[in-house]
């Protein structure tokens, strides 16, 4: 390089730096007319600077259409009927509505939906300052960050478009998804498929073909109570109707499994060290502060909370790095179960937490509240007042709370009934196969709300779960016992059975059991290459003791 060349390069580098600085100003809406003029002079004078400028602004524009920082559903469909006309005056949203039957329009609407959904997510922009401009005390109850979400795969039909946990709707034709673990999936429409993680999916209806391209990869497809896990193969799973699933193995073999209906985590507090002193106690991954062990409602121990801000039980297990990871991350369903004796006063802005995991807007909680739902989280809307709240983040809908008013109406208990000094069995469930979110008290469903079938849970992440408090703001008043956490929705029958047993002082299950994060499924049979079997799902939703699944050869 000659001196002139070096000098020229240095000047070009310096000018490029200036171009990028000016571009940043424009992106930030801080560009003055002088800045625009300077940028224009630089760009007109030097073609190389125009290239640099365009490459830099391309980063800005591609970030705006990238899903990497987004979460929520992607809606897709292929090959459907053509609209008869497109009106020039239609807005983009109107255009998309008219053409919603078309592949292109649905793809765009998926994108627009994502943006709009995120924009309208409750509480995102809210400040909730009081009249004096001070932050409301409500603010401290909720961490409203959107934490990073795990990427599970790439939608091939959209050319390397990354997606996080999502439900894919394929009206007709096929959609192709490559997981980050190297699994090729063809979702054959009409179908609804939940891409819940890079190694697992949930089939709600329709058919999916899985092809494992790498020798050591694993992939499983779950449907109601049944899971098909590969053993180095190519296989197809089709949900024929509500009760029948067909498994077809094209190469290798698969293992068909039924769900083991036990909790992921169970805290019985039977062997829990009492800790009312200053030092926290640590036992089996649980840290407790100023919590006293008392005789159990079930078993030998329970925990007593005396409405102290410094009383808290923290769970060390189950946290993950990103949303969608960690042992507490669920996708197809969830249940939170506990027995409580509550002395909550039902006062305004007085929260009593039973269970909570605060992963920003992907939190989950089961708590007594009376806050008037200041962030608009309540779904459905209910009259303000004391309620039992079940909060959960659902794909497409974002975070919402099923706030069950304690008003004595429509079968719901009153505040006085739920705080009458006797034990009450409380269960909150969500089932993606029905889209139903429910609260059960004392063995009976008391309130529910239906979301779209196939809507996945998106939870998990770095926060530690808490029992009996959240931070130091929401201390429980009373006794908590037998807290159980499941990665599926308990059935009405199971809940009624658990309640009946608990009221007799018995554990939820007749047979001795332990919670397990690894034993979630039990092998039923092997299906080998060239064969097809049909499975009856109707017998799979009973407690594990009653499982009687029998595969039938398809005729």
């Amino acid at each position: 390089m000659t001196f002139d060349d070096a000098d020229k390069k240095q000047r070009l580098d310096s000018a490029a730096e200036r171009v990028i600085d000016l571009a940043d100003k424009i992106f930030s809406n801080h560009g003055s007319s002088e800045d625009i003029a300077e940028l224009e002079t630089l760009l007109l004078a030097t073609p190389e600077l125009r290239k640099i400028y365009l490459r830099y602004v391309m980063i800005h524009s591609q970030l705006a259409v990238s899903t990497s920082g987004l979460s929520g559903d992607i809606l897709i469909a292929n090959k459907t009927k053509a609209p008869t006309s497109i009106d020039k005056k239609t807005t983009l949203g109107r255009l998309l509505a008219i053409a919603s039957a078309s592949a292109a329009a649905i793809l765009i609407s998926g994108w627009v939906y994502l943006v709009n959904c995120n924009n309208s997510r409750p509480g995102k922009e809210s400040n909730f300052a009081d009249a004096s401009g001070n932050e409301s005390p409500i603010e401290k109850h909720y961490d409203r960050r959107n934490l990073p979400t795990q990427i599970v795969g790439v939608l091939v039909s959209e050319k390397s478009r990354n997606i996080s946990s999502s439900t894919l709707n394929v009206d007709q034709g096929e959609a192709e998804l490559k997981t980050t673990d190297g699994i090729d999936l063809q979702i054959e429409g009409p179908a609804k498929f939940g891409a819940s993680s890079s190694s697992a999916g949930v089939l709600f209806h329709g058919s999916v073909l899985a092809n494992l391209t790498r020798p050591n990869t694993k992939y499983s497809i779950e449907t109601t109570g049944l899971r098909v896990i590969d053993r180095g193969t190519e296989f197809r799973v089709a949900k024929m109707d509500q009760n029948q699933v067909r498994v077809e193995v094209l190469d290798g073999e698969v293992e068909v499994q039924s769900r083991i209906r036990k909790p992921l985590f169970l805290w019985s507090f039977d062997d829990f060290p009492s800790n009312s002193g200053d030092k926290p106690a640590v036992d089996s991954g649980i840290v407790s502060h100023r919590v006293e062990r008392v005789p159990g409602i079930v078993g030998s121990g329970a925990l007593s909370f005396e409405n102290r801000n410094d009383s808290l039980v923290q769970i060390n297990a189950g946290a993950g790095k990103e949303v969608g990871t960690g042992a507490m991350a669920c996708s197809s369903g969830i249940s939170i179960e506990a027995i409580v004796i509550s002395r909550w006063d039902g006062g305004k802005i007085n929260y009593d937490e039973i269970f909570r995991k605060e992963d920003g807007n992907h939190r989950m909680l089961l708590s007594f509240q009376n806050d008037g739902s200041p962030f608009g989280y309540e779904t459905p809307q209910v009259a303000s007042g004391p309620c039992l709240s079940f909060g959960l983040h659902l794909n497409q809908y974002g975070y919402s709370e099923l706030d069950m008013p304690l008003d004595g109406k429509e079968g719901r208990p009153t505040l006085q009934e739920i705080t009458d000094g006797t034990p009450h069995h409380i269960v909150a469930t969500y089932d993606s196969f029905t889209g139903r979110k429910s609260i059960f008290i004392d063995g009976r469903i008391r309130m529910s709300h239906d979301f779209a079938e196939g809507t996945l849970v998106l939870n998990g992440g770095p926060a530690r779960a808490e029992i009996g408090n959240h931070g130091s703001f929401e201390p429980f008043t009373g006794i908590i016992d037998e807290v159980a956490y499941y990665d599926f929705a308990l059935t009405d029958e199971e809940i009624a059975l658990h309640y009946e047993r608990a009221m007799r002082g018995l554990p939820y299950y007749e047979q001795p059991y332990g919670a397990s994060t690894s034993d979630r499924w039990k092998a039923i049979t092997i299906v080998r290459a060239g064969s097809t079997q049909v499975f009856d799902l109707s017998s799979l939703v009973l407690p594990i003791e009653n499982l009687d699944l029998a595969p039938n050869e398809e005729k």
Binding site: I20, L44, V57, S102, A104, E125, R145, P148
Partner: protein
């Protein structure tokens, strides 16, 4: 109203197939030249409509993306001409140069997006949160500053640092691919 829309559903299906494949690249291209997010959506809408109106003249053996960007270019120029009343607008000459130059990016749009997705994975949790908020949720810098309990200036600076990192990372990846 398109005369061929109702009369030729096969043509419409063909259009949809091609449009579905390239729509995000077309939108990213427009967004690079029209910085205001709302305005870029409007330009994309007009472009989409115009593409459909003109699709009967599209030759099946031609490059759909280049054809689409040609239509998008007209719409971008139209936007800037209207915006010229704003003293903060680029001149017609510069927009002509930029749109012409950006045609060379047509083939690079897909690999650049893939490289960008790879580079995003290298960002810190905080930076990814920033992308999520600013680009995903369309939050303002002021709203992010409030959520982070930082100054607005600090948010803009973080955006600048993050974009710069991604720019250098994408350029390095594109360089690797070309070698």
């Amino acid at each position: 109203m398109n005369d061929h829309a109702s009369s030729d559903p096969e043509l419409y299906e063909e259009f949809l197939q091609l449009f579905t494949r390239d729509q995000l690249r077309i939108f990213a291209w427009i967004r690079a030249l029209v910085h205001d997010p709302t305005a870029s959506s409007d330009v994309f809408q007009e472009t989409s409509l115009e593409m459909w109106r003109s699709f009967a003249s599209f030759r099946p053996d031609a490059d759909f993306l280049r054809w689409a960007l040609g239509i998008a270019r007209h719409q971008v120029l139209k936007y800037w001409r209207k915006a010229r009343r704003d003293r903060h607008a680029f001149s017609d000459e510069l927009i002509q140069e930029l749109t012409a130059e950006s045609f060379s990016f047509a083939e690079e749009l897909a690999p650049r997006q893939a490289a960008l997705d790879d580079c995003i994975r290298k960002l810190s949790d905080r930076q990814r949160d920033l992308i999520h908020r600013f680009y995903g949720d369309n939050q303002s810098a002021t709203a992010i500053a409030e959520a982070w309990q930082r100054s607005v200036h600090a948010v803009y600076k973080s955006l600048k640092v993050m974009r710069r990192f991604l720019f250098e990372c994408v350029e390095a990846k594109m360089m690797e691919q070309s070698q």
